[in-house]
Symmetry: C2
Subunit: 430 residues, 2 copies
């Protein structure tokens, strides 16, 4: 049986967002009696967990981005539109975008999350982020441009400030980014910038909680910190960032320390990406929308929210909502696919409970922490496991091949091969 | 014997530009008694001949860009500075850049060429170019955005205008770009945009001369045209572009035809990139500097110009200057390396004569024209030869491997894998 998007008579579902949740949902609805339109402002899915490797020059963007049109190319009932959503009108069941309006019978909010600066405008203006491919390319260029700037000072100037890299937030992204920077200091800087004293480069990791990787066990936190320190990263726990003065480069920490830096990489938190038109009263903690156990938006049978943007309190183990991670998004996408088909058939839906598969983070060569299916490992084997699982989780055979090839190359050469600055010359904060 | 850039007492050569000429010159001067500083506004060498494949989604930028610092990483007497040259002061022997001034004993101008719009400001403003990696990424995004735009019209709007792609200039870049667009029409459009009528997409190639690939023989020109037409490209010879109205989308041709298009890709000519401070009286035809048979700038013993920027009339076979191609640049770079060492040793220098190795261009799958060392081939074998030689000409083993892997992938899948739009949303002409 084949459905055809343009001619089929069926309820119309619009999915806003082609991330982990949206993509799993699409896959479940392939060739089913529902007409599906996916809207995203980018024409690709991006594999967020490896974003920091694009930022640190180990991978190109094409290794972690996968065209959304390629994903749906064999799905007859599903269409994609590259569009920026401006507003949802729930009364007329309309999604207003920059390329026109679309009416829906069912709507899925799968917008994901954005960086949370917790209201600090100065830090928001001057920090680098790691949420999108342009972010990652910008950070890659920035890191290399700091090195170039350090060289062009000819020994004068404030080298400490230029070569101080401060990563804020000790979750997986922060830990992995700090580790990658430390390996750049160790392997790339001496080879590429032999006129610079590599010792001048400092990598700081600032975490407000008493330990890194709060979602993992104590042993993983301790080991991750140990691995980072072995690589020369200066880890400060129980410490938060107070404010930043971009003129002097002074970053003030809660423990009274002042770091001089030009480069702050902010991975200290995320918040849901809300949409104009959805009642603000439904916005809960973490800027997420209140949903019931079936991911239905509170008070709406025909609107769902899945992934980072969904705030569900019905799951007993997670009374304050689920962690904002890819696994939850994927599971909710899959379940929503099943549930909306049940809804159409007027069968009872299944409630969501999080199956926590675990978590992992890599610090550097042979150094990772791994807790999956209750198996806890650290070090070399964990590092192999981390690589294997990330390869499996990537979308598409080509991307797996590209990532594997780049990893092998970087492993053998001790380098980050893609050390090219592609943003406009002298781009910082312009 | 080892020299060390920072401590060596030796004449100082500044090379402006890390392209084909600059890179060959650097290689010749590795570990020689001369202190060399390379200036470039990008931190990478880019392999221009494959730029069109980045624009058409077949390769990522990291496949054709190679970090300049990697090239010099084992060259003790050579340093790189990422800098934009603002002015040369020949009286004080200074190069003024955005990051400070550098004094030289010898200077090499290897700035290369830029797109020549022959003074047509409207076309310059609205055409896409293919001279740099940002150009190529911009064109890749643009092509895909035109398809997205066509879809979002929902059948209304001027589809012809949106899906008309006009390539101006029938040299290798124009021929290869038009061929790549035709293959996108044939293989990518039906798979990714099944709601669009692929037949609506038109590819035009406009050439002012009576034949394509003027640098090659008649048979290659004829075959290239035949290959393009087999792929559905509409080739117009003896035709030049008159003007473009960006409001109506009307592109007027010299033969009276008016094409409606949103996308003009300009590959109709190049001109040298001159530098402030070099006497304008030395600028000749093609915006190139007058040099003697040793590539010395007319009237200066210590300033050389090599590659596209050099206008040499002493070579008997080329009284109007050499073609502005990579081979000339490489040969002049190599020879200048030898000659400046002779100059330092007060030995006589060798004059340059162009050894024309030939030329080649690929139109599409199994379709290429090839004239190297007097061997003329067309079709399948030419296409294999084209690929083999381009792989050999690439800098670095990693880039060869990445290109080869992508070619194999694209060959097997009939696709251009990297169909991702990375420029800012709705970027055109903003």
């Amino acid at each position: 049986m084949k459905y055809h998007y343009q001619s089929m008579q069926a309820p119309h579902l619009i999915i806003i967002g082609g991330g982990f949740a949206g993509v799993e949902l699409i896959k479940k609805l392939n060739n089913k009696p529902i007409k599906v339109t996916v809207l995203d402002k980018n024409n690709y899915f991006n594999f967020q967990p490896l974003m920091y490797q694009v930022a640190s020059g180990g991978l190109g963007p094409d290794a972690i981005a996968y065209p959304l049109r390629k994903i749906i190319s064999k799905m007859p009932n599903i269409a994609f539109r590259m569009a920026e959503v401006l507003e949802v009108k729930t009364d007329t069941k309309e999604v207003v975008t920059n390329i026109g309006s679309y009416t829906y019978d069912y709507l899925c909010l799968a917008t994901g999350a954005q960086t949370n600066f917790f209201g600090n405008a100065e830090l928001e203006k001057h920090s680098m982020q790691l949420k999108s491919i342009p972010d990652a390319l910008d950070l890659r260029s920035d890191i290399l441009q700091e090195f170039e700037k350090a060289l062009s000072q000819n020994g004068s100037g404030n080298l400490d400030r230029i070569l101080n890299f401060v990563v804020v937030g000790g979750g997986p992204t922060g830990v992995e980014t700090a580790g990658a920077l430390a390996e750049i200091k160790k392997n790339v800087l001496p080879a590429d910038y032999r006129e610079l004293d590599a010792g001048k480069m400092q990598v700081h990791l600032i975490e407000a909680a008493p330990r890194l990787l709060a979602a993992m066990s104590e042993i993983s936190s301790t080991k991750a910190k140990q691995f980072l320190e072995e690589l020369g990263v200066q880890v400060q726990l129980n410490t938060s960032v107070q404010n930043y003065d971009s003129i002097t480069g002074n970053l003030s920490l809660s423990n009274g320390t002042v770091l001089q830096t030009d480069t702050i990489i902010w991975s200290a938190g995320v918040k849901g990406k809300t949409i104009t038109g959805i009642p603000p009263a439904l916005i809960m903690r973490g800027n997420r929308y209140k949903v019931n156990e079936y991911n239905q938006l509170d008070g709406y049978e025909n609107i769902f929210a899945v992934g980072d943007i969904a705030y569900m309190t019905s799951d007993k183990a997670f009374p304050n909502g689920h962690p904002m991670v890819g696994t939850v998004a994927q599971q909710q996408g899959v379940l929503m696919g099943k549930n909306i088909l049940k809804l159409l058939r007027k069968e009872p839906m299944k409630p969501y409970t999080y199956l926590n598969l675990g978590s992992m983070a890599t610090v550097g060569r042979h150094k990772a922490v791994f807790e999956i299916f209750g198996i806890k490992m650290q070090g070399y084997i964990a590092w192999l496991g981390w690589m294997f699982l990330h390869l499996m989780l990537l979308v598409g055979f080509r991307n797996r091949l590209v990532v594997l090839m780049n990893w092998m190359w970087n492993y053998v050469s001790y380098q980050r091969a893609i050390r090219i600055i592609t943003r406009p010359f002298l781009g910082k904060n312009n």
